[in-house]
Structure formats: structure tokens, C-alpha cells
């Protein structure tokens, strides 16, 4: 079992080392085969591991070796296996394996194949290190590692200025969140004297009333710690405030968007929040905040997605919005529901991205859905699977998203929290919008009359098998995962999560959510159908409504098109002032004030005084004689006056 776990995590790293080290010499095919096959083994082992241990409801830790030890501060590398990490391992390896294979086809003509495959494997390794972390610090290692790979892959096409800018933006936005993460970790250590999950979670109960002096005031320690950690989650999972990097991240190749910026990395924030459930249970204020942030993000991102025209950007905003749902669930103490939506979302969102990639591939790299349309006959498999993905995303019955979204909206209705009902309403509203933008995308992309030019239309072709197989596999997952996993993850009496998730008895909502009134239970479905209906009226029947609406509500439309003006605001409030301050401090502070008064000033002063003194040394004897006489006079006078 230990060996198996080690293999699952480290085979992708081996893949990276081989592809990165030898790929240049041994060629593209070599790196594709090694990374894919190692990833395949990892996936198989992960599945074996899941079936061996996933249902045991216990926590195992595979110890590796010490990382940092200074007196009491003692942190080791290790692999923690419990139902939570095993679910993540299985999902991550499976999706990653599919995307490795897909990339063989998608990146066929790219000059940097070894690098690309290597990065994908490296990312998978970091993601696995993150989810199997037995302590906060290793989690941060994985956390930063996936951030690094995200940076490297967004900027994969390094010739493009926009890709480079997006890459740096993603890294920096994440780093802002990381400040919260690091401070949270430090706070946890000073509270508990350890960073091991098992140790911390055991002690939580004893510390539930404790306060800590932070900055100037006293705060409830657990609330503050979990709040700071959640700041990290906001950055990584692109929640409102720190979300602006995610749409820009679409500059990266599409397989990357599918793997990192939809299915796995961005869910790390959700995973973190679920992981610290024992702390959150004693920090109701943080949970209120999590619900609030999740709901606002879900609605905000969905509104923006309704007006965007870049196919990948729409799906990116959709990801933001769906991550919001996951936080809504976690905030309501329904951690299982959060993980459920995370899992189903991994399938259907990866599917949608790969489908979008297939479309982009077919349309000669066109991203604008206004320039597509009428292509469904040429790409039937892509079209069908995109339908499946959209159905799952919108939460139409019997597709996976239906089960997971349903439970989230229900738990918020029954949750004993201030923002519970607010989240319920927000969730319903976002569900309408979700269905709307999903079918807007479908109709504009595939149906209607072709709007692309002849050359592009002449080229349209279905993707090769190597790209279609992963899409189909994910489509199957998108259909089945909801139905299959419902009882296990969020069943009324499920004990699947065992020791991995902790919920206080009074916060238990999953069971109550199974007994809500029928109209609440069906509300999300009605919402989805409503959105679908709107989209059909708007875009399938080629009505003029979209245009008319955009003209009537001009400012609202501009507000949405500009993505709520977050980017512009940040640029004028933070980015430019920071750069300006840098210049002022350098030229004003360093060069003028410090150097001016310091070394250069003193230097000038001594030169000048030296120059003046120089003039006294004229070399004429009578000058010196005169000076001597004056000196004698002064001295004598002084002497007599004494």
C-alpha cells in the first residue's frame, strides 16, 4: 500500500524528469509515450488504492522524511490517505491521464511537445502532493507548485505578450492569496504547536474559545486562522476579488485550461476548505463569509459569462461560478456536497473545455463564438459531447451536475446560517444564468447559419480519435458520476467520509436536505429549464431580443462586457500606483535624498572645503609670514585675556 501510494504520486514526477531531461534528445514521441504511460500507471494504481482503502473510513499516513525541524517546529514529508485525499487522487489522475492523451492530438504541431508534456506531468505531481499532504506546509508546497505550473503553462506560448502578462497576473493574484495562507499556517502553528492535520484537528476542541492578539486587536483564534486560510482559497479558486486571473489564464493551451483551470488546480481552494472542516466547524463566522463569497462569485461570474464571446472565457467564468457553488456548500457545513460537486464538475468542465478545444482545433484557432455557427454536422461527436457537458453543467435531471447542484442548493435552504437563504436564492438565480449561457454557447457555436469565412469553413473537420477518446470518457463520467456517487458522497446515512471530514452534530445539514419540500427540491431544475428556455428563444430561434436588450440596458451591458470593471479598477488603483511608487522611491528616495545628503553630499562638502583650504597654500613666503604674525597676535591676545 505504501509503495502504491508513493508510485501514484511520484510516477508523474518521473515523467516530468524524463520528458524534461531527455525529451529534447529522444524526441517528441518519446516524451509523449513516457509521460502518458507513467500517468496511465499512476491512474491505475490510484484506482486500486481507492478501492483498497477508500471505503475503510480511516486515515493512513505514509511517512517519507523530515522536511524542516527547528526545536518544536517539526514538519515531515508524507502522504496522507483518507477518503478525502483518495477521491482527489482518483479524480486528478484520471482527468490528468485523459488530458495527457488528448494533448498528443491537440499539440501535434507544436514545437515544444516535451516541455508541454513535462509540465503537465509536473503539475499532476504537485497536485497529488497537495491533496496527499499530511500537514499544512506540504500542502503549501503543492499549492505553490501547482501555481508555478499554472504560470508556466499559461505562458506556454512565450512569444505572445498577452500569454506572458496573463501568466504573471495569475501568479501574482495567487500570491496575494498566499499571504493569507502563510499567515494562517503560522497562526495555526502558534496556536497548536504543530502543523500536522491529525495533531491540529485533535486539539481543535480544546482551543475553541481561545483568542489571539493579531495586529492591534484580540480575535477569536480559530475564526481568524480559518479566515486567513480561506483568503488563500479565494486566490487559488478564483473567487470574487482575486478571480480576475482565471479568465486571462485562457491564454494557455486548451488542455491546460481543462486540467488546471477547470478540473483540478482551481479546486484546490475548495479542497483546502473541506480539509480544515474541523476548524471551520468552530468558526461559524468564517463559514458565513465563505457562503457569502461563494454566492456572490457564483452570481457575478454567471452574469459575465452570459455576454462574453470568447468560447474559453465563457467556460472560464462558468468555472468561477461553479467553484462558488462548491464554497456555498462548504460554508453550509455540507463538505461532502462540496466534494461531490467538485468531482462531477471535474468531469463535465474538463469535457466542455476539451470540446471547446476540439471546436477551436476545427475552426483554425478561432475563439469567438460570434464567428462560428452551423458546424454541428461537421463535428458530430464534439457536438454530442458538448451537449452532454452542458446538460451536466446546467443540472438537467439524471446528468451528474443535477445531483450535486441540487444538494448544494437544498443544504443552503436548511442551513442554520444568516446567509443560508441568501445563498439559496443566489444559487437559483445563478442556475438560471448557467443554463442560459451554456445553451447560448451551444447554439451560437454549433447551430444556425455559418458565420465563419469560406476558408475556415472549408477546413472544418472532426478531431482525430486520440482527442475524441478522452472526450468520450469524460462524457461518460459526466453522465454517470452523479448517479453513482450520490449515495456514497451525500447519502442520508453515508459514513464514507469517516475521519476525513468533521461536522458538529448541530451543523448537520445533509440529512435535512433530503427532506425539504418538493418545490425546493425541484427549484434548481426549474431554474435550469427556465434558463434553457430563454437561451432557446434568444439564440435558437434567431430572435432580435439579445440585440434589443443590449441596446436598452446599455450601461448594464457594458458593465457585464467589461467584467464588472475589476481589471480596470485594479490597474488604476493598485498596479500603476505601485509602479509609480517604485520610481519615486528610487529616483527621489535613493538617488536624491539618501545619496544626495549622504555619500555624495558629504563628498561634495569635503571637496569644497578642501578647495577652500587649498587657496591658503599659495607658496609665497610673505603670505606665510603674514599669517604667522597674525597667529602670534591672536595667541598673545588670547593669553593676556586669560
Amino acid at each position: 500500500m505504501n509503495i502504491l501510494a508513493i508510485l501514484v504520486v511520484f510516477l508523474p514526477l518521473l515523467g516530468f524528469v524524463l520528458a524534461g531531461g531527455l525529451g529534447e534528445k529522444l524526441g517528441d514521441r518519446f516524451s509523449q509515450i513516457t509521460t502518458c504511460s507513467l500517468m496511465g500507471f499512476s491512474t491505475v494504481f490510484a484506482a486500486i488504492l481507492f478501492f483498497q482503502m477508500g471505503l475503510k473510513e480511516k486515515t493512513f499516513v505514509v511517512p517519507l522524511f523530515t522536511w524542516i525541524r527547528v526545536e518544536l517546529f517539526d514538519v515531515s514529508w508524507g502522504l496522507q490517505l483518507d477518503s478525502l485525499s483518495l477521491v482527489m487522487i482518483t479524480v486528478v489522475t484520471l482527468v490528468s491521464f485523459m488530458i495527457h492523451i488528448y494533448s498528443i492530438g491537440y499539440m501535434k504541431e507544436d514545437p515544444g511537445i516535451p516541455r508541454f508534456m513535462g509540465y503537465l506531468s509536473l503539475f499532476t505531481f504537485f497536485m497529488l502532493a497537495l491533496v496527499t499532504a499530511p500537514n499544512f506546509l506540504q500542502m503549501f508546497f503543492g499549492w505553490e507548485g501547482v501555481g508555478l505550473c499554472s504560470y508556466l503553462l499559461i505562458g506556454y506560448w512565450y512569444d505572445r505578450d498577452r500569454a506572458n502578462a496573463a501568466a504573471i497576473k495569475a501568479f501574482l493574484m495567487n500570491r496575494i492569496g498566499d499571504i493569507g495562507f502563510v499567515l494562517g499556517v503560522i497562526l495555526i502553528f502558534s496556536l497548536f504547536g504543530t502543523l500536522d492535520f491529525s495533531g491540529v484537528f485533535e486539539l481543535v476542541e480544546n482551543h475553541q474559545q481561545e483568542t489571539i492578539t493579531f495586529l492591534s486587536g484580540n480575535s477569536h483564534a480559530l475564526t481568524l486562522a480559518s479566515f486567513l486560510l480561506f483568503i488563500g482559497a479565494i486566490g487559488k479558486s478564483a473567487q470574487i476579488g482575486l478571480h480576475t486571473w482565471l479568465p486571462d489564464a485562457m491564454e494557455g493551451p486548451t488542455p491546460v485550461s481543462a486540467l488546471i483551470h477547470a478540473a483540478t488546480m482551481v479546486t484546490a481552494g475548495v479542497f483546502l476548505v473541506v480539509r480544515i472542516s474541523p476548524i471551520l466547524e468552530y468558526a461559524p463566522l468564517t463559514r458565513e463569509f465563505i457562503i457569502l463569497v461563494g454566492t456572490v462569485t457564483a452570481v457575478m461570474a454567471a452574469t459575465i459569462a452570459c455576454v462574453q464571446n470568447d468560447i474559453k472565457r465563457i467556460i472560464a467564468y462558468s468555472t468561477c461560478s461553479q467553484l462558488g457553488y462548491m464554497f456555498m456548500a462548504a460554508g453550509a457545513s455540507a463538505y461532502g456536497a462540496s466534494m461531490f460537486h467538485l468531482t462531477t464538475h471535474a468531469f463535465f468542465k474538463a469535457l466542455l473545455f476539451l470540446g471547446a478545444g476540439s471546436v477551436i482545433h476545427a475552426m483554425s484557432d478561432e475563439h469567438d463564438i460570434q464567428k462560428m455557427g452551423g458546424i454541428w454536422r461537421f463535428v458530430p461527436v464534439t457536438y454530442a459531447t458538448m451537449w452532454v457537458g452542458s446538460l451536466a453543467l446546467a443540472g438537467i435531471p439524471f446528468f451528474s451536475g443535477f445531483y450535486s447542484k441540487d444538494i448544494i442548493i437544498d443544504v443552503n435552504w436548511v442551513a442554520p446560517l444568516i446567509f443560508g437563504k441568501f445563498a439559496f436564492l443566489g444559487g437559483i438565480f445563478a442556475a438560471i444564468l448557467t443554463a442560459f449561457y451554456a445553451w447560448r454557447l451551444l447554439f451560437l457555436t454549433f447551430n444556425g447559419k455559418p458565420r465563419a469565412d469560406e476558408a475556415v469553413m472549408g477546413h472544418i473537420h472532426e478531431s482525430p480519435l486520440i482527442m475524441l477518446i478522452p472526450i468520450v470518457v469524460l462524457a461518460i463520467g459526466s453522465v454517470l458520476s452523479g448517479n453513482f456517487l450520490e449515495q456514497l458522497f451525500v447519502g442520508e446515512k453515508t459514513t464514507f467520509w469517516g475521519t476525513a471530514i468533521f461536522v458538529l452534530p448541530q451543523n448537520e445539514v445533509i440529512e435535512a436536505a433530503h427532506h425539504v419540500k418538493w418545490w425546493i427540491d425541484w427549484a434548481p431544475t426549474f431554474a435550469a429549464l427556465l434558463g434553457l428556455g430563454f437561451a432557446t428563444c434568444f439564440y435558437f430561434y434567431k430572435s432580435l431580443w439579445p440585440e434589443r436588450l443590449s441596446k436598452t440596458f446599455k450601461s448594464l451591458y457594458a458593465f457585464l462586457c467589461n467584467q464588472w470593471y475589476f481589471d480596470k479598477l485594479y490597474e488604476s488603483w493598485f498596479v500603476n500606483p505601485t509602479l509609480k511608487t517604485g520610481h519615486i522611491l528610487w529616483e527621489g528616495g535613493d538617488q536624491e535624498i539618501i545619496d544626495g545628503f549622504g555619500p555624495n553630499g558629504i563628498g561634495d562638502l569635503s571637496l569644497k572645503s578642501g578647495g577652500i583650504l587649498c587657496r591658503f597654500q599659495t607658496g609665497y613666503v610673505y603670505h606665510y609670514a603674514f599669517a604667522m604674525i597674525i597667529g602670534v597676535v591672536v595667541m598673545m591676545t588670547w593669553y593676556f585675556l586669560e
Binding site: F65, E71, Y158, D159, N164, A167, I179, I186, W586, G598
Partner: protein
């Protein structure tokens, strides 16, 4: 091993190498240069191996000085040649031996004028550095401490860039001014303690009033060296003008002399003053971290950018030292070692392209990743280490410092942690402008990737950064016992509240009697 004065041999071997180069009179400049290079390489290599042997024999459980050697030097004045290493000095000792070796390799072909003199300067510098870190006598320490300035002054002033004279003078005068004040303090301590023995002085308690002055005098010296804001303006100029290897040693080792001084002298000898001035140090450190990162963002010159970044990183070191907490202090030591490796590597990265294009302007580059993929990989790795990505040594130091600081002052922790964002901003932006983007400038199209010698320089640095990032225990356990000793002494002094104060006049009397006056 017991009979052999291994430490002294390690310290003075480079000086011997310099002598060999000096004696190697020939008539052909070319063969002289080649000989000088090989002698310097072998000398520094053997010195490094000797340093490793010392590490091998080092006992990390003990916080005492090891490999101690004591010889009468000026017996009448009770000044002796006294050297030894403990867990605080050994990491920096090893770092010095490694970086000088790499400095010789870096200069292999980029220095073509006055090669023998150049190599001699580096070997002499090495002796001074190793001596400085192991000196256990104040006078000896001061000789080495000041001695370091001379070869460095020559290296900048002779083999530097166009504005080298200004930079060399600024560097020299700035640091000299600081160390003159510390000399006054050393003389005072000498009279007070009655000998110039450092271990004796370390266990002497000084009057809190006097401590303040002595602390300030040492501060002047160390704050310039490390450098702390606002005594840092010599650093960017010195770096910009220095040859690559000069920058490597300057950033890699010379800056650490300040941090070493604070840990070795200021904290254990002047605990009351140190605790009194902690708010000042914290403030200056925070300013250094934020201010310098912002200034680094504004730079157009690669070397200047890395120089300013160094000041910001050193802010973490001073912050960590003055937490007087085992995590904070060990973090500071780790940060010094890590910064020594990473900043050296980054300056070599600049040197690599400077050798090819003779420009340090960021704007002169762009798209290098196309022609120099291997270089791009190394450069990216060190940029990430500079950002402090977990898994590199930079993270361990930075995190431990933040952790230690939090026990003392949460505001300082929060402010310092903004360095995480700003540090990433200037580093990644630098990388983007130099390496990424299309390759359009014709001058860049023919640049060759790293040669084997450059690989040879980067490889040990990259390996150490990675290994220390994943398994930093070698450094942490090495330092632990000594750091704990310093902290215990500090806490004891503050709790004891000056019971064992030395009667100044009496000590002076004893000292004078002892010396036969």
C-alpha cells in the same frame, strides 16, 4: 586530525596559492594567465574540500566553538591568534569556500587583463573571508573584517565597469566609515574585558548604558555591510560596476558579514541594547523589504534589480535575527545561506549574457529562451528560488523568519509577507522581459547556449538550492545548538537584570596590572 591545525590550513591555503601566483614570474602574459587560473582553481578547490572535511568532523550537538586553535600573537597585550568554528559561522564558512571556487570558474574566460593579479585578489579575499568567519579574537577579527575591503576594492576598481572608480570609492568609504566606529567599540571592549578574546567577551556582561553605545557602534558597521535601509546605496553601484565574480562574492558573502556580526556580537554581548533597539531594526527591515522591492520594480538594469532585491532579502535576515527566537534566527541563517547561493547564481546569470552581449540593460534583451533553452531553465529555477517557492532553499528561510517574527510581532509578519507578492512581481517581470517574447533583436539571434564550464558553475548551485529546499536539516541542525546558546544567554541576561555587571574601573585596573603597567 587532532594534531593537524586543519582550520588554519584551510584559512591560509588560499594565501599560499596567491603567493605561488606571485612567484610565478614568466615572460609570456598568456602562459602567466593560464597558470594563474589553474593555480587559483586548484587552490580554491582544495580549500573547499578542506572546508567540507571540517564540516564532516563538525559535531552539531555541541554549541561550543570547535577546531579551536590559539597561539600567542602579541602576548604583552593579550592579543592572540585564536580561531574556531561553531554552528553560526560554519554555514557561512562553507558558503565562502564554495562561492570563491565558483568565482574563479566564472572568471575563467571573461577576465583577460591582469589575470594573475585578479586571481590573487580572489585568493587573498578568500583567506580574509574564511579568517573573518572563524576569528575568535577581536583584533584578528577586525584585521580580517577590514582586510576583506582591500581585495574587493581592487576587484571593483580595476576590473569593473566604466564607472568603477566612483563605485569602488563609495563602497570603500561607506563600509570603512561603519567599521571605524566598530573599531572604537572593539577598543573599548578590549579595555573592559581585559583581553581581545571573543569567547571571553561573549560571556561578559556590559553596563546597559554602555551597551547602547557599543551596540550603535557595531550597528554602524554591520548595517552598512548587510546593508540595511538607508545605508544601502553603495550596493547597487558596487554591483553594477563589479565584474561578475565580484558581484557573486559581494552578494553571496560580503553581505552576510553584517548578519554574522549581529548574531555573533550584538545579540549575545549587548542583550539589553539589542532588545531596546529591536523596534528600530524591525522598522528598518520592513522598510527594506517593501521599499527595496518597489525600487527593484523600477529598475532598467539587471544587476541593479538583483542588487535591490538583495537588500530586500537581507531585510528578512535582520528581521529574523532580532526576533531572538530559534525559528527566526535559524531562518535568518538559512536565508543567508540561501541568498548566498541564489543571488550568486542570479548574478552569474546576468554575467552569462553580459559576456555575450556586453549589456546589462533589460531592454537590450528579450526572447532569449529561443536561443538559450538550457540557460532559460537555470535562470527560471533561480528566479523561483529568489521568489521563495517551497521546495527551494529560499522558502525555508523566509518561512522560518516569518514564523519567528509572528511570535514577537504580528504586524511585522503581515508587512513582511507582502514581500512575497512584490518579490514575485519584480523577479517574474525581469524574467519575462529578458527571456520571453519574440526574438526580434538581431544581436540576440546568434547567442549560444551555456557552455560546459557555465553548466559546471550552475549545477552545484542548483543542486544545493533544491536539496536545501527539500531537506534543509544539514544547515538547521548545524546551527541549532549554537543558536540556542545565543538565545539562552540573551534571555538569561534580560531576566537576570544586570546582577553580574562588571565594575568597569576595576576591570580596567586588573587589565592594566595584568599587562605589567
Amino acid at each position: 586530525m587532532d594534531s593537524l591545525p586543519l582550520l588554519s590550513i584551510t584559512i591560509f591555503l588560499p594565501l599560499l596559492g596567491a603567493l605561488v601566483i606571485l612567484l610565478n614570474w614568466g615572460n609570456k602574459e598568456r602562459s602567466l594567465a593560464i597558470n594563474a587560473r589553474w593555480v587559483a582553481l586548484w587552490t580554491s578547490l582544495v580549500t573547499f574540500v578542506l572546508a567540507l572535511i571540517l564540516w564532516w568532523h563538525f559535531n552539531p550537538i555541541s554549541g561550543e566553538f570547535q577546531f579551536e586553535e590559539k597561539l600567542q600573537w602579541m602576548p604583552l597585550l593579550d592579543i592572540s591568534y585564536h580561531v574556531g568554528l561553531d554552528g553560526i559561522s560554519l554555514p557561512l564558512f562553507l558558503l565562502s569556500a564554495l562561492l570563491i571556487l565558483l568565482a574563479v570558474l566564472v572568471s575563467w574566460s571573461s577576465i583577460q587583463t591582469k589575470v594573475p593579479e585578479y586571481m590573487m585578489a580572489f585568493l587573498v579575499l578568500e583567506t580574509f573571508l574564511l579568517g573573518m568567519f572563524s576569528a575568535l579574537d577581536f583584533i584578528l577579527f577586525y584585521v580580517f573584517f577590514e582586510g576583506v575591503l582591500l581585495p574587493m576594492f581592487l576587484i571593483i576598481g580595476i576590473w569593473g565597469g566604466p564607472d568603477r572608480i566612483y563605485a569602488a570609492m563609495k563602497f570603500f568609504l561607506y563600509t570603512l566609515l561603519g567599521s571605524v566606529l566598530s573599531l572604537l567599540a572593539i577598543i573599548y571592549i578590549y579595555f573592559e574585558v581585559g583581553s581581545s578574546d571573543i569567547p571571553t567577551a561573549l560571556i561578559t556582561s556590559f553596563d546597559p548604558q554602555i551597551q547602547t553605545w557599543l551596540w550603535l557602534a557595531f550597528f554602524a558597521s554591520f548595517a552598512v555591510k548587510i546593508p540595511m535601509w538607508p545605508f544601502h546605496t553603495w550596493l547597487p553601484d558596487a554591483h553594477v560596476e563589479a565584474p561578475t565574480a565580484g558581484s557573486v562574492v559581494l552578494a553571496g558573502i560580503l553581505l552576510k558579514m553584517g548578519g554574522y556580526g549581529f548574531i555573533r556580537f550584538s545579540i549575545p554581548m549587548f542583550p539589553e541594547a539589542s532588545s531596546y533597539f529591536t523596534p528600530l531594526i524591525f522598522t528598518l527591515s520592513i522598510i527594506a523589504i517593501i521599499y527595496m522591492s518597489l525600487v527593484a520594480l523600477a529598475q532598467q538594469d539587471m544587476k541593479k534589480l538583483i542588487a535591490y532585491a538583495s537588500v530586500a532579502h537581507m531585510g528578512f535576515v535582520t528581521l529574523g535575527i532580532f526576533t531572538v527566537d530559534s525559528q527566526g534566527m535559524e531562518g535568518a541563517i538559512m536565508q543567508m545561506v540561501s541568498h548566498g547561493l541564489v543571488s550568486a547564481a542570479l548574478f552569474i546569470c546576468v554575467g552569462v549574457v553580459y559576456d555575450r552581449l556586453h549589456s546589462r540593460e533589460i531592454a537590450a534583451y528579450g526572447g532569449l529562451v529561443h536561443t538559450m533553452p538550457r540557460y532559460a531553465t537555470f535562470f527560471m529555477f533561480f528566479i523561483l528560488a529568489s521568489i521563495g517557492l517551497p521546495g527551494t532553499s529560499g522558502f525555508v528561510g523566509e518561512f522560518l523568519v516569518l514564523l519567528g517574527t509572528f511570535q514577537v510581532n504580528s504586524l511585522a509578519t503581515v508587512l513582511a509577507s507582502t514581500g512575497m507578492v512584490l518579490g514575485a512581481a519584480y523577479a517574474l517581470w525581469l524574467y519575462r522581459r529578458v527571456m520571453f517574447g519574440p526574438l526580434v533583436k538581431p544581436s540576440l539571434k546568434s547567442l549560444s547556449d551555456l557552455n560546459w564550464r557555465e553548466d559546471l558553475v550552475f549545477a552545484p548551485l542548483a543542486v544545493s538550492v533544491l536539496v536545501l529546499g527539500l531537506y534543509p536539516l544539514p544547515i538547521l541542525t548545524m546551527a541549532e545548538a549554537s543558536v540556542v546558546k545565543v538565545i539562552d544567554q540573551f534571555n538569561l541576561a534580560l531576566e537576570g537584570g544586570g546582577e553580574e555587571l562588571v565594575d568597569t574601573e576595576k576591570t580596567l585596573e586588573i587589565a592594566l596590572v595584568k599587562r605589567g603597567f
